[in-house]
């Protein structure tokens, strides 16, 4: 190990991609994306090293710098069992997107620089231990993704990008008002301090503002309408990051901010989260069933999958068996990772289809398995992972969520949510049937098999999903103590 003081190591991990982005203009155009991949790979290695060296529970790798001392806000980062899995997910997804983009021709240097900056922003959200810092990164993720969609998207991308910006920016400002309300109560923006002395009673308005902010980002039905157009018109790596990382910021905010800092209000209004989560699960699954555009379909399954997380977070706030509620939170965190991996892979595979044939229309494909066997294999694994097949990550997550919800305070909602799995199973089998099997479709002749770089981008995501599915202990050992801490905090 290099002689880096322990407290700066997380700061280095967070800002390393940004530093790499700043040297990109000095590199030749062709080397830009390769440099992005190298920088992201190094960052992933560093995050994994942090994961291995972490001996929780509690915050590790903390770093503090004064920023706006007059309001008790500062630069404060740290990592624990809730944030480390998401940091690793972020680093892995960005690496895979870099590999996927190796052949990018349109302004590759700006593209790589933008993604590297976005990587710093995303890592920053999950590492921030100060509400204002959290907000800064949260808000910048919107700006970065706006430029990705507006600059490199296709179709009606200018409009989708604007819609994305307006909706999610509204949410983030609601979040800011909620944070200010927390600050006015606690006199500081430091997350650890606010968590130590949470808002004792009331806090309903603060939770409303924070809840709206996080709900838009997650997205929770009925705040989800920005998501399908943004996904459809974004470039494939943009969709993968948007679904895989940016959506997680909403649910991460729930477990990091809303639940531990407003425990009283959360317990009081947990049924709202349960209801909205269930609504998202069922609505997302049913609307996805009706989609012909593969990207819109994946987008709506995201609404469905994020619904499970919100449902679990709500169930964890209701009265009930503590062990079951801990299980619900572990399931929620596992689902964040699982959804990030699998949906990232699905969007990259959808990008392969669009790259070859220029269309997302499912009806125009068919019999692709014969023409592109490796693509078919990857799509099949990703689809099964997404529908929750045992042996893959989605099953581990959803099993915990259902058990936690049914055994905890929300048995009816938990039981109804199982229907969502049924619908998505049918839905994904339908997609596999339509795209991979049957007679060749109109665009099938143009579909060639995945290239090596694309394989290298998608395979690690599915391998990680399988690793969690088969041997989940390495993840759960990290998450479960953090879930137990969180449940203890909510119960105050």
């Amino acid at each position: 190990m290099t002689p880096v003081p322990e407290h700066t190591v997380l700061t280095l991990v967070v800002f390393w991609p940004l530093a790499a982005a700043l040297v990109l203009p000095a590199l030749p155009r062709r080397a830009a994306v390769a440099a992005w991949a190298a920088a992201s790979a190094a960052d992933l290695a560093a995050v994994l090293a942090l994961w291995t060296a972490y001996d929780g529970p509690g915050l590790a790798y903390q770093d503090r710098v004064r920023w706006i001392p007059s309001v008790g806000a500062g630069y404060h980062v740290g990592a624990d069992g809730l944030s480390l899995p998401l940091l690793a997910l972020t680093a892995l997804l960005f690496l895979c997107c870099a590999l996927y983009s190796l052949r990018t021709r349109t302004r590759p240097r700006a593209f790589a620089a933008l993604f590297l900056a976005l990587e710093t922003v995303c890592l920053g959200v999950f590492a921030a231990q100060d509400l204002l810092l959290f907000f800064v990164f949260f808000d910048l993720s919107i700006v970065g993704m706006y430029f990705v969609i507006a600059g490199w998207g296709h179709g009606d991308n200018a409009r989708s990008a604007l819609k994305f910006f307006l909706y999610t920016f509204t949410g983030s400002l609601a979040l800011l008002l909620g944070f200010i309300a927390l600050y006015l109560d606690a006199g500081t923006f430091d997350m650890a301090e606010i968590t130590r002395r949470p808002v004792a009673s009331g806090g309903g308005l603060a939770l409303l503002a924070i809840g709206i902010g996080l709900a838009v980002k997650t997205p929770v039905v009925p705040f989800h309408t920005w998501l399908p157009p943004a996904h459809t018109d974004a470039p494939a790596p943009g969709s993968a990051i948007l679904a895989g990382v940016l959506l997680k910021m909403g649910t991460y905010g729930i477990v990091r901010v809303a639940m531990p800092m407003l425990p009283d209000a959360w317990r009081r209004y947990a049924w709202v989260a349960v209801a909205l989560g269930l609504l998202g699960v069922l609505y997302g699954a049913l609307v996805a069933l009706a989609q012909r555009n593969v990207k819109r379909l994946i987008a709506y399954t995201s609404v469905n999958h994020m619904g499970y997380i919100v449902l679990a977070a709500g169930a964890a706030g209701l009265a009930g068996d503590a062990a079951a509620r801990r299980l619900a939170v572990s399931g929620a965190v596992t689902q964040m990772v699982a959804h990030g991996l699998v949906t990232g892979a699905l969007f990259l595979l959808a990008g392969v289809l669009h790259d070859r044939a220029g269309s997302y229309d499912l009806a125009r494909y068919g019999g692709v398995a014969r023409a592109a066997p490796r693509f078919a294999g990857l799509l099949a694994v990703a689809a099964f992972a997404s529908l929750g097949l045992p042996g893959l990550s989605g099953f581990i997550a959803e099993f915990q969520i259902f058990t936690g919800a049914i055994g905890g305070g929300a048995p009816v909602a938990g039981a109804l949510a199982v229907l969502g799995v049924l619908v998505t199973a049918g839905l994904f089998l339908g997609v596999l049937h339509r795209v991979l099997l049957g007679a060749p479709g109109e665009l099938t002749p143009r579909v060639t098999d995945v290239r090596r770089a694309e394989l290298a981008a998608v395979a690690p995501l599915l391998l990680a999903s399988a690793a969690i599915g088969v041997a989940p202990r390495f993840l759960l050992d990290l998450v479960e103590p953090a879930s137990a801490t969180l449940i203890a905090l909510v119960a105050r």
């Binding site: 004064r66 920023w67 706006i68 001392p69 007059s70 309001v71 806000a73 500062g74 302004r107 700006a110 204002l132 907000f135 800064v136 808000d139 910048l140 700006v143 706006y146 430029f147 507006a150 600059g151 200018a158 990008a161 604007l162 910006f165 307006l166 920016f169 509204t170 400002l173 609601a174 800011l176 008002l177 200010i180 309300a181 600050y183 006015l184």
Partner: protein, 451 residues
């Protein structure tokens, strides 16, 4: 006299620049600007030196405290890039140096406006800040500029008279024009008359700040005057006027219960009118004009709660500094590209990445995106308003901020695609834009350390 050293240096700079302009031939008129910048930098140094000294009062009418220090630094610091932009834009113009001199004199008036603690000095400062600015607006002597200057002048004359009337009323009620004496005497006077007098005094200040109801001139001047003059009058007078309003709120009428609701109504109307009117603009400068009206509404937030929330002062002063550099960056990009129609900005990112990046920083900065300075300013302003019991106003400001995203992005979005037409390629305005954009980000990142 040392209390007034920065102001004296500024005055000397105006005189020296005028003398230089008279002495050198037309081809070397830039030396006038150079002299002005040298004096501005000296005044900045003096202001920085003064900031480390204890608070003082000169002639019982000129307060030297933190608010004055920041007003000085913001006004002087923002005048430097304006002089640089003017030197590039009016190079070879027959009245090149006059622009610089007028700008310096108006800046002097603006500083006096922010520092005065006497109503008569306030009115004198108002005139000194305004009259050179009217001339700046009509500097190009073209139809649009003349119309803008006339509108600016007529609005200014009307609101100036109202301020004078308010001064008379308050003098009649309190027997003095000094803020301290008024503060002592006014509680005994009829509260309705006090409120009316204070509102009348505020009229001229709201006009200078470009806030409702004195905002009608802003879009016309922003579009009709030369871009550099537009940059000046939408940026610098705001600093003096808002600090003067702050003083009025905290030093004259802190106990008048109707005052904060009145200011809150003004702030709400200003931000809403400015933002809604900016929506459909196709001209970059007119859009920026309405945007500065909207920003004036946000800047009023800390003033509303100034009497009850101590943190409001820091919020206002920081926001003012951040707003000044960010707004100047946006105008500097307009000067550098020489384009007014939003559609003409298509392809800027490819043609001139640095300039496009400056524009992105400036516009997203005006939105209040972190980590720019305006974000910190807005955030402090929201926090102050919520602490002062004006949560509804903060919520309205949030709604307005979201609305503002829409029109700022209407300008930014075209830069990402399409082809940029042949450009004149001016280096000094481009460098100014970059410097201002860097300052806009630096203020945000180093926010707490600066203060």
């Amino acid at each position: 006299m040392t209390e007034l050293l920065p102001e004296l240096l500024l005055l000397a700079g105006a005189v020296a620049a005028l003398g230089t302009g008279l002495a050198v031939p037309r081809g070397r008129q830039w030396t006038g600007a150079a002299v002005a910048v040298a004096f501005l930098l000296a005044a900045l140094g003096a202001a920085g030196w003064a900031a480390g000294r204890p608070d003082a009062t000169a002639f019982d009418a000129f307060t030297v405290d933190t608010a004055t220090h920041v007003t000085r630094l913001v006004v002087l610091g923002a005048t430097v890039p304006v002089v640089a932009l003017a030197a590039a834009a009016f190079h070879g113009h027959p009245r090149e140096t006059e622009f610089t001199v007028l700008a310096l004199l108006s800046s002097l008036g603006t500083i006096l406006l922010g520092a005065s603690s006497d109503l008569l000095v306030l009115t004198a400062a108002f005139l000194l800040a305004s009259i050179p600015a009217y001339a700046l607006a009509g500097f190009a002597k073209d139809a649009a500029g003349t119309e803008a200057a006339l509108k600016y002048y007529l609005t200014g004359a009307l609101f100036g008279i109202v301020t004078l009337a308010g001064t008379t009323v308050l003098y009649g009620l309190g027997g003095s024009t000094s803020y301290a004496a008024l503060h002592r005497a006014l509680p005994a006077a009829p509260p309705g008359a006090v409120a009316a007098g204070a509102v009348a005094v505020a009229a001229g200040l709201l006009f200078k700040a470009g806030a409702a109801p004195g905002h009608f001139w802003v879009p016309d001047v922003a579009e009709g005057a030369s871009p550099v003059a537009a940059a000046y009058v939408t940026t610098i007078p705001k600093a003096g006027a808002l600090v003067a309003l702050f003083r009025l709120t905290t030093e004259v009428v802190p106990d008048v219960p109707q005052w904060p609701p009145f200011l809150a109504a003004v702030a709400a109307a200003t931000m809403t009118l400015g933002n809604l009117a900016a929506f459909r603009q196709a001209n970059a400068r007119r859009l920026l004009g309405y945007s500065t009206v909207g920003q004036a509404g946000f800047l009023l937030l800390p003033v509303v709660v100034a009497a009850s929330v101590p943190a409001a002062r820091a919020a206002l002063l920081f926001y003012l500094a951040a707003y000044a550099v960010t707004n100047l960056a946006a105008f500097a990009v307009v000067v550098a590209t020489g384009r007014d129609a939003l559609a003409d900005y298509a392809g800027l990112f490819r043609a001139s990445p640095a300039l496009a990046l400056c524009l992105a920083v400036a516009l997203l900065g005006l939105v209040g995106t972190p980590p720019t300075g305006v974000f910190v300013g807005k955030f402090l302003a929201f926090a102050a308003a919520m602490r002062g019991g004006y949560g509804w106003l903060a919520a309205l400001a949030v709604v307005n901020t979201v609305a503002s995203v829409f029109y700022y992005l209407r300008w930014l979005a075209p830069t990402l695609a399409g082809r940029f037409g042949p450009s004149r390629g001016r280096s000094l305005p481009g460098a100014t834009a970059c410097a201002a954009a860097v300052a806009a980000v630096a203020l945000g990142v180093l926010g707490g350390i600066v203060r």
